[in-house]
């Protein structure tokens, strides 16, 4: 059995943050628990208190605000996201990415925000969220702050969340008109984390790239925007030479690690391969 725990059900995010502040190291947040519970089985962590987010009214909401941003509450499951007509139509990159997470059983309960907070380097959603320039609304016992997700992933399994903070909501801006997106995931077996995952957003005009955003999972201890690669594409047609150069720059920026799924060297090479494929996939969609 798992070690003994108490299951606390706060009624608000502020109350949840208060419980984290009060219990410190002995408390962990739980939403779907799809990462947390296996960690409890493995004794990677042994919190005494589980602070549930599922009891908080409204926290599972997925909705569009008046500015056209998508707002995703901490309790919203992957399943809600991938089946939501709002998400599928307005933020297809997000739906396409989330479909590739783990397995249906895990997506039925696991939350997008929980996945982001765990910050596994092979998780799929971060690359898509970075490309869409999402930001997080974070609630602590001292108040609330907004943080671009660009500044959220600090270190291997380490995020910018303070111990008493709850990531309550992710805000994702509307996708620019005419932009084409794609997420390609490379892994060996179904359910695996990404060896390399590449999210791309492309805006083309008269055959030339107006704007390019490229983000990668799996290739470094934290997900990252391949900004040098992006710069190399702006203003140019997406011919083989420019795509090759962008892939090379993205690979250069990677700090791949070796693990049971792939060696660092192999990962690095796959960055190159999959950045090219993702750019071509997005370009093909842009030209439809």
């Amino acid at each position: 059995m798992i070690e003994e725990v108490e299951f606390l059900e706060p009624a608000s995010v502020e109350e949840a943050a208060g419980l984290l502040a009060r219990h410190g190291d002995e408390a962990k947040l739980i939403a779907g628990g799809q990462t947390l519970i296996p960690m409890l089985w493995q004794r990677l962590i042994t919190p005494r208190y589980l602070v549930s987010l599922k009891s908080i009214a409204g926290l599972s909401a997925v909705e569009k605000d008046r500015q056209g941003n998508l707002l995703v509450g901490a309790g919203a499951t992957h399943r809600t996201m991938e089946t939501s007509p709002l998400v599928r139509e307005g933020w297809p990159l997000l739906a396409e990415t989330i479909e590739k997470v783990a397995a249906p059983q895990i997506r039925n309960l696991g939350t997008l925000v929980g996945d982001v907070c765990h910050s596994d380097y092979g998780a799929d959603p971060p690359a898509a969220l970075l490309v869409m320039e999402a930001r997080a609304r974070i609630v602590g016992s001292g108040g609330e702050r907004w943080l671009p997700l660009d500044n959220f992933f600090l270190d291997l399994y380490g995020t910018a969340l303070a111990p008493d903070e709850v990531l309550a909501q992710i805000e994702i801006p509307a996708v620019p008109d005419g932009a084409a997106t794609a997420y390609l995931k490379y892994c060996l077996r179904a359910m695996d984390p990404a060896i390399v995952g590449v999210a791309v957003m492309l805006s083309m005009k008269e055959g030339r790239c107006q704007d390019a955003r490229i983000a990668l999972n799996g290739a470094s201890p934290v997900p990252y925007r391949a900004r040098l690669a992006e710069q190399a594409l702006k203003g140019w047609p997406l011919d083989e030479g420019h795509i090759d150069e962008a892939a090379r720059l993205a690979q250069e920026q990677a700090e791949p690690m070796s693990d049971s799924h792939a060696s660092a060297e192999y990962r690095g090479r796959m960055v190159n391969v999959f950045v090219k494929r993702a750019l071509r996939a997005a370009e093909e969609r842009a030209s439809r």
Partner: protein
């Protein structure tokens, strides 16, 4: 040793059940150890293999990675809840007819996962079946007969899951 228990009420295979559980008990443990519903299996107990799959409010979950207290007020369906009046569910019949099991350990989970799929998509393509079964591993069969059985059951069920 006295460990603190909390009350839990949920509906299991159509029947309301009230019991006291430790917050640390998973849904799998409560189903097997408290309710004698041993169809859901202990496999990896790390949210991977799917041998523990049950339906929670109609959707498939890995019950090893759900705390029982998280299922408060929910409806749970285990494989034991499928055969109505002793007659096998069409999915179960198809698994038998197609020989879609060898050791049978993954089978309850497979059947329930398939039921969740057919409830949502009554005539799935082979690709959709394969994708849906990602969270259910089988070491014996190589999946071919399992997929055939699900396709046959779907056809028999004619778009309406009983």
């Amino acid at each position: 040793m006295n460990r603190k228990r909390v009350p839990l009420t949920l509906t299991v295979n159509g029947e309301e059940v009230s019991l006291n559980v430790e917050p640390r008990q998973t849904l799998l443990e409560v189903l097997r150890d408290e309710l004698d519903l041993t169809g859901a299996r202990r496999g990896c107990e790390e949210n991977f293999c799917g041998a523990c799959t049950v339906l929670l409010d109609g959707v498939a979950v890995h019950s090893c990675s759900v705390l029982a207290v998280q299922a408060q007020g929910s409806k749970v369906t285990t494989v034991e809840g499928l055969a109505a009046d002793g007659r096998l569910h069409p999915l179960q019949e198809a698994f038998v007819e197609y020989g879609a099991l060898q050791c049978g350990y993954c089978t309850p989970g497979m059947v329930l996962s398939a039921l969740a799929l057919l409830t949502e998509k009554p005539r799935p393509t082979e690709g959709q079946i394969r994708e849906h079964l990602i969270g259910n591993l089988c070491r014996c069969t190589g999946y071919v007969k399992i997929i055939q059985a699900i396709q046959a059951a779907a056809a028999k069920m004619e778009g309406g899951a009983p």
